[in-house]
Amino acid sequence: MKRIVNRGLVSGLALSAALFAGAAWAKDDITIAMQLEPPHLDPTSAAAQAIDSVVYVNIFEGLTRFMGDGSIVPALAESWEISDDGTVYTFKLHEGVTFHDGSAMDAEDVKFSLDRARAEDSANAQKALFAGIDSVDVVDPLTVKVTLKEPNGNFLFNMAWGDAVIVAPESIENIKTAPVGTGPYTLGEWVQGDKIVLNRNPGYWGAEPALEQATFKFISDPTAAFAAMMAEDVDVFTGFPAPENLPQFEADPRFQVLVGSTEGETILSTNNKQPPFDNIKVRQAMAHAIDRQAIIDGAMFGYGTPIGTHFAPHNPAYVDLTGNSAYDPDKAKALLAEAGFPDGFETTLHLPPPSYARRGGEIIAAQLAAVGIKAEITNVEWAQWLETVFKGKNFGLTIVSHTEPMDIGIYARPDYYFQYDNPAFQELMTTLNSTTDPDKRTELMQQAQRMISDDYVNGYLFQLAALSVAKAGVQGLWANAPTAATDLSAISWSE
């Protein structure tokens, strides 16, 4: 059944693509700007979201994939069967899929990709996605059997991540600069520091996309981003860095503004092992000292949804726990006194470059100062942030947006940079991972949300909004960002 539906969808897309191709006036190239340039083009060996923004479902595809609404649909796997005990997934692969170098994509490539990702010496940034795999077996060239150690309700979701795309052993050596995937686009040219050009793959197995060529431009400075968009040098800017400029684009008929949700929980990360933050009363006091709405209005000019835990509000399992840490400076002061800090204390606040952090940090420092906590601001670049905060764990407070989808599992890692070590939570995550029943999963996820909210692990601020600006004629852009991606196949010009 799944197969039939899928075929129907594919041929429908092919038809509409053919109609577009017939229209001679339709513009078939696009320039898409974003802030960060990828360090290289291998999504399976780095955490950088910028890589996925360029290559995900354009150059590389996985067994399954994310759609713009966050749903998971088949990609290279045409269909699958799950054994009754939930531990064996048998994937049926699409026939006639070739890599950009002409070689066929078959079960061996899937086995190679998954084994490579879960290997001991793997450089994969999300090894946890593959941790539950016991073995990968080739049944025949188009059938691959994945056996899990225990049932994992997230497995198909895990396989949709950019970190789980299918690569070929023949081309793996130069994947960082010459990526060879199965996707609808091939790498044309990469001018470092400036742009990456992708060309349509004539041998693509699926429907032919409308755009012949796409250019990704990298513009890191918010002022330059505004100027480039206003001058129409670029057609689209995804992840527009200056929310204060959006009203001007909205008022201009040449442009459209897309406001959606991301998976980015923006939090005041707290070093849970560093005194005085090892005291839950202190963390609770900070939570009550923070006025989320002021941060959203002041730093993001109103774009963003308040959160009370580390979970995306658009997820059906989300529980609104903002009331647990409502803005109440008097209560915060009382809690600080109870914790033995009637006069507050001093700490550090490391701020990476994005405006949610730099501006949000100034507001939070002022709000903390109002209850007696003196947070000394240090502005850092990303490289320095990774070194000092993320790897070195040498910080008191920092602000960062965790943009990976469904990443509440990071709280089960005691050596993660905010160093939350709670065996009860770790056990809860183990149970969650081995549960496949959707209702039970929802319940467990809600329990997890409550636990970290009640422990005031971090200051939960807001869900980062996905802000994109595009020329009026561009259609098919993802408004939401369920994962870092620019799905070029979905994009076309309206005339």
Partner: protein, 271 residues
Amino acid sequence: MSRNLILGAGLSSLVVLAALLSFVWTPYDYAALNIPAKLQTPNAQHWFGTDHFGRDMFSMIMVGARTSIAVALLAVGIGMSLGVPLGLAAAARKGSWLDELIMRGNDLVFAFPSLVIAILITAVFGAGAVNAIIAIGIFNIPVFARITRGAALSLWEREFIMAARVAGKGAARISAEHILPNVANLLIVQGTIQFSLGILAEAGLSYVGLGAQPPTPSWGRMLADAQTMVSFAPHLALIPGFAIILTVLGLNLMGDGLRDWLDPRIRVARS
């Protein structure tokens, strides 16, 4: 006194007064956020309007003047207190290895583009007002050393120095008692110019985020923060911009005026 001197001294003292006044009084708390009142244009309550956090711009400019002046003054202080003795010593031992060492060392520092090195220093040792002072101060040393040595060299040829030597005074005493008072005019003029350059350097460093850290207001950072908002709230950039321009203009006019006023040759010609 020339018109330049009066205008320059007037502008400069206005800034200094604003900075001093900010210690005891500002219209609002410069760090108090009031987000509902953000981005107001200048009005009766907020004379210079409010910024993107609803902070009072007038109070921020006043306290920002304090930051600028403190950084520039201390940086000039470092330059003078190290550069002048070095220059005096080099002149007293003209042609010796000491002279060579000091002057080639100065050339070395001079050879680097100052702002770039200041950025390097603050990037290595951390951003902040103290490191900004040190970074700017280091580049003031050779300026004062050279100007002191140059002026001192010609003084060493003069008869009254000869008389002092005949009277048995040592080089150090001559430098301190006879040379220094006679180069003081030059140093004051140069100090004023360096002071204005220091204000500019501080604004440049804090513009790139390496000067005083928030919440301490600084004119350069106010400019940087205003950058994306110029198109709909131009006062955010114009006000700190004018503060920098007027301060630097004032100090330069004052330096020019002081030179004319203190230079004995011009004074003689005028009378």
